[in-house]
């Protein structure tokens, strides 16, 4: 079974703090993704990565950055957290080209005060 893990289930941070969300997958997948999920809006893609050290902007990258130094790990960084970044963050991974089913982690619920 594919396993995608996220470092925290719940996180509370202050406005202006730098926040790191970590995601690890154990199936040697090429592609990894970060989404945020908000009620009534579904999932929106923040960033994705096709390979180590490669990243692509998704639909809502503003206020976020990412890092992928190792194939199995994809980090989402909030450089200066703001209250409008309070949300559920979901990480996903998928095999290389043609492997379209995405496997999701359990999510991190972030509250920015």
């Amino acid at each position: 079974d594919v396993k995608v893990t996220q470092s925290s289930r719940y996180l509370v941070k202050r406005t202006g703090e730098k926040v790191f969300l970590e995601c690890v997958q154990d199936m040697d997948h090429e592609n990894m993704f970060w989404y945020r999920q908000d009620p009534g809006l579904g999932l929106r893609l923040i960033y994705f990565s096709y390979d180590v050290k490669m990243k692509e902007k998704g639909d809502i990258p503003e206020g976020y950055s990412v890092s992928r130094e190792k194939k199995e790990r994809f980090s989402l960084i909030l450089e200066s957290a703001s209250t409008n970044q309070t949300s559920m963050y979901l990480c996903a991974s998928t095999p290389g080209a043609g492997g379209e089913t995405q496997y999701f982690g359990p999510g991190t619920r972030l509250l920015v005060l």
């Binding site: 989404y35 009534g40 998928t94 043609g98 379209e100 982690g105």
Partner: protein, 113 residues
Amino acid sequence: AQSVTQLDSHVSVSEGTPVLLRCNYSSSYSPSLFWYVQHPNKGLQLLLKYTSAATLVKGINGFEAEFKKSETSFHLTKPSAHMSDAAEYFCVVSVRGYSTLTFGKGTMLLVSP
């Protein structure tokens, strides 16, 4: 470009009655289509997916969906609802061969005894 419209934000059924969750899509290319389910406080789980084979796709837990190109629809059905089906359901579209997904806003399925 691709998009997904889930026609109902909430659907309420009684246990034992049929379920219909409606989804229309738009895609410039041959689409792959998915339904994911999210139970409360859980990650997303793949229910079923359509790529290019049979237009009637069977998934887990008795769900199925039919791809209708002429109607650009991919509605999810189940003959008889169970209490454990209560969850949020997402219709998702992808361009075949690419990994990025576009999510609908979700339909919350409520099942009453």
